[in-house]
């Protein structure tokens, strides 16, 4: 191989090579970290909420102009609204509830395994699902059973303190609280040690994300209680026949406005919109990083093209001499590509260190996680490839320099 002449010529003319190597190093540092963050964010947005066929689901909340005086009045309103929704054509299931997955607002409670515990075993989001929440969301019960009408408890916050007797938990929460055994039949306590409120687990659903879908494990922790809370504001989860959602949403709003005098629709949002909203920033960041990465690679490639063109021009005469002395076009091509590989490889080695350093900085300043080795490998490969592609054009032009050049004076 001709590594020796390449190295010695590089050592004689260091500046250009160093600049290219520095550029490759910086690019690798940024690209590896950016790819990692992009992948991380997109994976976050792709997590399933637990709701089957999300596109057919929406939530609608209503509030009264003046609250009914009694708990019975409030509950009657809830049932009236649910009936009105159920009667709409295209609706396949309706459930009264208090919050929606990815809805970004809701209830969050500490859970204890022992009534005397002072620090919670886990924090979980709390859904009320006295009627058909499991059916409406299409949740998968992997252990135990769904609620029956006998499980349902009516709760008036003005007079009662409890939250409910029976509940279901998400699988992630069941595993966290009962790592070894089954969760079904166990008792959990809501509220602090001064006032523990027990409920019994009757079933485990495979998955149901919290309204905030946090990136940590907490995002997968949910409790569904078989209770009907006498609240003046109420939310309904609605599942429609495929393709009917948008029409049903409009009709639902009109129907609920008419159902009870003075009733207002506070919110009417599809799960699809909720998903867009909650992950908007993550998607935006991923796109911003994709843009920067692409531009960065283009800039680096253009730098390599520029520098290689310069070198080829400077060495026209030498190339002519080499060709005249018997070097094939392929040899010239190989010379420039090898030279470029040497430079990019140098840059990549420095870039690996820089990438780790940049990652350290991001970890310490912005609470990112550590960069897996795989991204370094992918980043290096991409830059090697770009280096070869970028130098190919100038190298090919160099190889087509005619040996006759050698005989000319300038």
């Amino acid at each position: 191989m001709e590594l020796r002449p390449i190295l010695s010529s590089l050592l004689r003319n260091k500046t250009g090579a160093l600049l290219i190597a520095a550029q490759v190093a910086l690019s690798l540092a940024i690209v590896a970290n950016a790819l990692y963050i992009i992948r991380d964010r997109l994976a976050l947005t792709a997590r399933p909420s637990g709701v089957a066929e999300e596109n057919n689901v929406f939530r609608i909340s209503v509030g009264p102009l003046k609250a009914p005086e009694t708990a019975e009045g409030k509950i009657a309103n809830q049932q009236r609204n649910a009936d009105v929704l159920r009667a709409l054509p295209g609706v396949s299931s309706v459930a009264w509830t208090n919050q929606a997955p990815l809805g970004r607002s809701g209830w969050n409670m500490g859970l204890n395994l022992d009534p005397k515990q002072t620090e919670s075993s886990a924090n979980s989001s709390l859904y009320f699902g006295p009627d058909s929440l499991v059916k409406t969301y299409g949740l998968k019960i992997i252990e135990g059973r769904d609620f029956t009408a006998d499980d349902v408890q009516l709760i008036d916050p003005e007079t009662t303190k409890g939250l409910g007797r029976y509940g279901m938990v998400s699988q992630a929460l069941a595993k966290k609280l009962f790592p070894t055994g089954s969760a079904v039949g166990k008792t959990l306590y809501l509220g602090g040690a001064s006032d523990p409120q027990p409920f019994q687990i009757v079933g485990v659903v495979e998955r149901l994300q919290s309204p905030w879908a946090q990136s940590s494990e907490v995002g997968e922790f949910s409790v569904i209680l078989a209770s009907r809370w006498a609240d003046t504001y109420s939310m309904y989860a609605v599942r429609t026949e495929p393709g009917q959602r948008d029409r049903v949403m409009k009709e639902a709003e009109a129907a609920l406005l008419k159902a009870i005098p003075g009733q207002m629709v506070v919110n009417n949002k599809s799960l699809e919109e909720d998903r867009d909203d909650i992950y908007r920033d993550d998607r935006a960041l991923a796109w911003m990083l994709i843009t920067v990465t692409v531009l960065l690679l283009l800039v680096t490639a253009s730098g390599i093209v520029g520098m290689a063109t310069l070198w080829v021009n400077q060495r026209r005469k030498q190339i002519g001499v080499r060709r005249a002395l018997g070097a094939r076009r392929f040899d010239i091509l190989r010379y420039f590509i090898t030279e470029n590989l040497v430079i990019t490889s140098g840059g990549i080695v420095a870039g690996l260190l820089l990438a780790v350093a940049l990652n350290q900085l991001l970890v310490s300043q912005l609470e990112l996680t550590k960069l897996p080795i795989g991204y370094l490998a992918v980043g290096s490969l991409v830059l090697w490839l770009i280096g070869v592609l970028a130098v190919y054009g100038p190298a090919w032009r160099a190889s087509s320099i005619s040996p006759a050049i050698a005989t000319r004076s300038a």
Binding site: Q23, G191, G262, V299, M307, L310
Partner: protein, 439 residues
């Protein structure tokens, strides 16, 4: 001489057009990416009330149970009704206010306008003067209305126009919560950026959204209006059911503000709060060691992380990208200048000093910076437009002002001069004799 060199620089742009175009483009893209992200960061971290931000304070008290206490725990961002009432009565600071979010339905009585939901806040009267809220009609409710817990209301401009058109509704009444509320005033469009007075539970986030109405804090409480926002009952919940039980509980749901006379009041107020907590301990509250914070506006925004980590991350990576663009420009300038070694040789032989050569080539680099900066400015606006498409929130912060405009251009010129240093120095090293000989 500078003008001449500048002129030469402009002419030289036309030489090796591909190389030059690449250089200008690289610089422009790098500057645009970093300035677009930096502008967002700059607006996000701006001071919304510069002449007063060092004397508006948010107190934070740690009323959580002893269990689970760890050294360095942060006190809650909001406070209990008990503490808010006590601090309002304390007379500390020049002004003080307690704020919580309320939602309600308005019955306009008009057949064309069915009842609709509105979001507002329940502060005390001091709120308007503390945060310098501009009024369009009327003014804040009176101190006597506040003391008597009367049903008085201040409307946001949008709500007022929705209900009454452009006429002044002051003195008129609207129906809400089953009562008649007398309108005391209408505030003008008021959009501090960031929305510092309502960073917790504000509908719309830290930068967008507006409150549709304002009612007196104690009036809202006597109507038993719930808190539309975060309600944190650490440890134990209310001991008694219902609204009154909640008021007596250790649940935190109210945000409090003090206004000091000067910035130095911060230390004094903090001492007062520590003494207050000591007093409350005698009543069996505050089981934890005294843990009191008092933050001014900028500290409060810092504590709540108003500037998102993503915005910082984007800016850092964009500046990293600019660095790559810079290195690239160095290479391209080097290529461009070294092709003109002969020209330098002739000039040197004709008597130009190294200094002159240095001036000429650095000016040429700066010309590339000016052109790249102008193009970068255009691209920055494009970048900001793209950012503003993300969400309403980003649309509010993706705004360039004159300072940013000037900074963009200067950044580009400084970057190009920095990039030009090495190639220029190399050009100065040209030995005239050698160059002339090879010709």
């Amino acid at each position: 001489m500078f003008r001449y060199y500048f002129d030469l620089g402009l002419r030289s742009l036309r030489r090796n057009p591909v190389l030059t175009a690449l250089m200008v483009l690289t610089l422009a893209v790098g500057v645009a990416a970093s300035m677009a992200t930096f502008t967002v960061l700059y607006v996000m971290s701006g001071d919304p009330i510069p002449h007063k931000s060092d004397r508006l304070f948010v107190p934070r008290l740690d009323n959580a149970p002893l269990a689970g206490y760890a050294e360095g725990d942060e006190p809650s961002d909001q406070m209990t009704y008990i503490d808010a009432s006590n601090l309002l009565a304390s007379g500390q600071g020049v002004r003080r206010t307690a704020v919580y979010g309320v939602g309600s339905g308005i019955d306009s009585g008009r057949p064309d306008l069915p009842p609709f939901q509105v979001q507002g806040v329940a502060p005390t009267r001091d709120f308007f003067e503390m945060f310098e809220v501009p009024f369009l009609h009327g003014g804040p409710w009176s101190a006597s209305d506040e003391a008597a817990r009367n049903d008085v209301i201040v409307l946001g401009r949008e709500l007022s126009e929705k209900l009454f058109g452009s006429t002044s509704p002051v003195g008129k009444r609207i129906r809400m919560e089953g009562a008649e509320w007398q309108i005391a005033g209408v505030i003008d469009t008021w959009k501090p950026l960031p929305r510092y007075y309502r960073l917790i539970n504000g509908n719309g986030g830290s930068f967008t959204g507006a409150d549709e109405f304002f009612i007196p804090f104690q009036t809202a409480v006597s109507h038993e209006m719930g808190n539309s926002g975060n309600n944190n009952c650490s440890g134990e919940g209310p001991k008694e059911p219902g609204y009154q039980g909640w008021l007596k509980s250790e649940c935190d749901w109210i945000q409090f503000w003090f206004e000091g006379k000067t910035a130095s009041d911060q230390a004094r107020l903090k001492e007062f709060l520590a003494a207050y907590v000591t007093d409350q301990k005698k009543l069996g509250r505050y089981p934890r060691p005294i843990n009191v914070r008092l933050e001014n506006v900028m500290e409060w925004m810092q504590h709540l992380g108003v500037v998102s980590k993503d915005a910082k991350l984007s800016t850092w990576l964009a500046f990293g990208f600019l660095l790559v663009c810079l290195v690239n420009t160095v290479g391209l300038l080097l290529a461009k200048f070294s092709a003109r070694a002969g020209e330098v040789g002739v000039r040197r032989a004709l008597g130009a000093t190294k200094r002159e050569i240095f001036h000429q080539y650095l000016t040429e680099a700066a010309v590339v910076g000016v052109v790249g900066g102008l193009l970068g400015l255009l691209l920055s606006f494009g970048g900001l437009w793209l950012i503003s498409l993300q969400s309403e929130e980003m649309a509010t912060v993706a705004r360039m002002d004159w300072a940013m405009l000037a900074l963009t251009l200067s950044l580009s010129i400084v970057a190009s001069i920095l990039a030009g240093l090495l190639p220029t120095w190399r050009a100065c090293q040209v030995t005239p004799a050698l160059q002339l000989k090879t010709q």
